[in-house]
């Protein structure tokens, strides 16, 4: 197990290294780094100071070294627009995005798993067919458009829920989140539901497929034969086994929730890092774009690593295979 984690971590570090090389060459080859990383409104002295600071007057191999070192130190340039370190801007907005992603993950799981199990247990029933048809619809609906519909219906037409911003932020056990105030909850509900809808369909389909496969396994038949109550068969024997693919998917889906939150945050003016990156692309605020890129790469590499490790912990079969 330790060997597996070590090997897998080494792989992640290699991927991180390659990605940093890609981002670096992206900055250097696609555009002129002087132009990309230094505010176009800066005067000559300022430009020269930043060139020195970022090591842009050095040969390219040394420049990469500087870039890596600066990244390690957490210095990825200063935003043109806000005049603050790019990294700080992103870290400030990260809690809002993670809170939104977690809440929508929660929404999609509490609906998707029961619906998926039902559709898998009774594949021929009318309700199951409706669930599956609905999941194709949910799969096909572009997130941003559903967001607009939500705003029109719930915020403009019915006037029930607010459509922009994060609302009041409460504090609980030192954690600050809008989930802890009523106002915050009313603000997070629409964007989270919007983000969840997209994931709902894929988790429903996965749960259904898993259920249909597992329900015919010998251990389920055996459990039934020995007279285990049907509710226990489903809640223990079945659920434990469909959780394996679902955990993997949750890990990966959490990543894609973070990615898709760029869209939802823009529609609902949610002050997270997704909205920040879109605004930065508009404003050509390149240090922020580069910093976001590095952070998101690190985030995804670690997420994948975590999923792989969790997967081996959950499924002994993978563990045995991995140790060979």
């Amino acid at each position: 197990m330790t060997a597996f984690i070590l090997r897998r971590s080494t792989q992640s570090i290699i991927v991180l290294f390659i990605m940093s090389l890609l981002v670096f060459s992206g900055v250097n080859l696609v555009g002129d780094p002087v132009e990309m990383l230094i505010n176009p409104e800066a005067d000559q002295a300022e430009v020269e100071r930043v060139i020195k600071e970022l090591g842009l007057d050095k040969p390219i191999t040394e420049q990469y070294w500087y870039f890596l070192m600066n990244a390690f130190k957490g210095d990825l340039g200063t935003s043109f627009i806000f005049g603050e370190p790019a990294l700080k801007l992103i870290v400030q907005r990260m809690p809002a995005t993670i809170e939104l992603a977690l809440f929508s993950l929660f929404i999609s799981l509490i609906f998707a798993i029961p619906l998926g199990i039902y559709a898998g247990l009774k594949p021929e029933s009318k309700i199951s067919k409706t669930i599956m048809a609905g999941s194709i619809l949910g799969f096909s609906m572009p997130t941003f458009w559903v967001g607009i519909i939500f705003i029109m219906f719930f915020a403009v037409y019915l006037g029930w829920l607010p459509s922009t911003g994060r609302g009041e932020i409460g504090s609980f056990l030192g954690v600050k989140s809008s989930l802890f105030t009523l106002d915050g909850l009313s603000h997070i509900f629409l964007p989270a539901l919007n983000l969840a809808l997209f994931k709902l369909s894929s988790v429903i389909r996965l749960t259904r497929a898993g259920t249909r496969e597992i329900i015919h396994q010998d251990y389920i038949k055996f459990a039934r034969a020995k007279g285990v109550a049907e509710s226990r068969v489903i809640n223990v024997h079945l659920l434990k086994n469909i959780l394996i693919p679902i955990v993997t998917i949750i890990g990966l889906e959490f990543g894609s929730l973070i990615a898709f939150s760029t869209v939802t945050e823009t529609v609902f003016a949610w002050p997270g890092m997704g909205k920040l990156i879109i605004d930065s692309i508009y404003n050509l605020d390149r240090p922020v774009i580069v910093a976001y890129l590095m952070i998101i790469v690190i985030f995804f590499v670690f997420l994948n690593l975590l999923v792989d490790i969790l997967y081996t912990l959950l499924d002994p079969r993978v563990r045995i295979q991995g140790s060979n």
């Binding site: 194709i136 096909s140 572009p142 997130t143 941003f144 607009i148 037409y157 995804f300």
Partner: protein
């Protein structure tokens, strides 16, 4: 050698078999019909649109934001209303379908070609080359497509060809994975061995012998990925990062309507979205049926 007559007979038999399998699902047939109608609308948009929404001499700002079925002073009826610049929404949607479908199909075809070449050659040559290609594919697929596309467009800027490039770069990996998986199975079959024994060139074996047998799975992935490409392009254009104003796709139309949303002018955003949704759903349903048809586990 087969003569052309029996060749066309084989094709007829094949088509008959294909259609009888396909038409087992009524939903899929209806979706296909809707899809054909949408494609025809997109192709003939200039002929069937009530007005040319981008002819500045005909569009009047006086007609802006009229609700559906409204009449202007000249007595023209706007079935789906007008947008902020006074353009007829129905015509704008017809023209928008053209752009959206064009970009989606074009990027799907390029991605299919590039992905297939890498996928089949990876399966065929194996070894380090295969490991290298498939590692790239794995790494790329671990990042969500929307993020990849955002990054690429942030680097290149917006534009129709840049959007297509971004969509191709995002999607080739799906095709490469599918092509490799299919080609690995085909490569070990007897006909491929026979071709190798005949000392045919590598290119010939890969593309004349193995490729045609990989087509079914590639077509299935291609259909579903086209829907994905259309949706992704719409999202990017909505965010203002995809197509420029001069190429008004459905996503851009929805984005234009977004600013009027709080005033309750729902039709400017809703109708292009409905058109987009119908397009994507019908492609997905057709793709679903194709997948079921070519899934050996579901064969009777």
């Amino acid at each position: 050698m087969l003569n052309t007559d029996s060749n066309s007979k084989i094709i007829n038999v094949f088509m008959y078999k294909f259609w009888s399998d396909f038409s087992e699902s009524k939903v899929a047939v209806i979706s296909l019909l809707i899809l054909i109608a949408i494609v025809l609308i997109a192709i003939f948009a200039p002929l069937i649109s009530p007005s040319d929404p981008y002819d500045l001499s005909k569009v009047s700002i006086m007609d802006s934001r009229l609700p559906p079925m409204a009449k202007n002073f000249a007595g023209d009826i706007f079935i789906l209303g007008t947008d902020g610049a006074g353009r007829d929404m129905l015509s704008a949607i017809f023209y928008g379908l053209r752009v959206s479908l064009g970009v989606g199909v074009m990027s799907a075809i390029f991605a299919l070609i590039i992905g297939t070449i890498f996928g089949i050659s990876a399966a065929f040559f194996g070894g380090k080359y295969e490991t290298f290609i498939m590692r790239i594919v794995d790494i790329q697929l671990s990042f969500p497509s929307i993020l990849m596309a955002l990054i690429i467009l942030a680097a290149f800027g917006k534009g129709i060809e840049k959007t297509i490039i971004a969509l191709v770069l995002v999607q080739w990996a799906y095709y490469a994975r599918t092509a490799r998986a299919a080609a690995l199975v085909e490569r070990s079959k007897e006909y491929a061995e026979a071709a190798q024994c005949l000392a045919l060139g590598n290119k010939k074996i890969m593309f004349n012998h193995i490729l045609p047998n990989c087509m079914p799975s590639l077509i299935v992935v291609g259909t579903l990925q086209t829907a994905h490409a259309i949706s992704l392009e719409a999202t990017l254009s909505f965010l203002g990062l995809g197509l420029p104003i001069t190429e008004p796709s459905l996503g851009l139309l929805i984005g234009n309507g977004f600013q009027y949303m709080h005033t309750g002018d729902f039709w400017i955003s809703i109708f292009p979205g409905v058109a987009l949704l119908i397009t994507i759903v019908s492609i997905n349903l057709v793709g679903d049926q194709l997948r079921d048809m070519y899934n050996p586990r579901l064969k009777k």
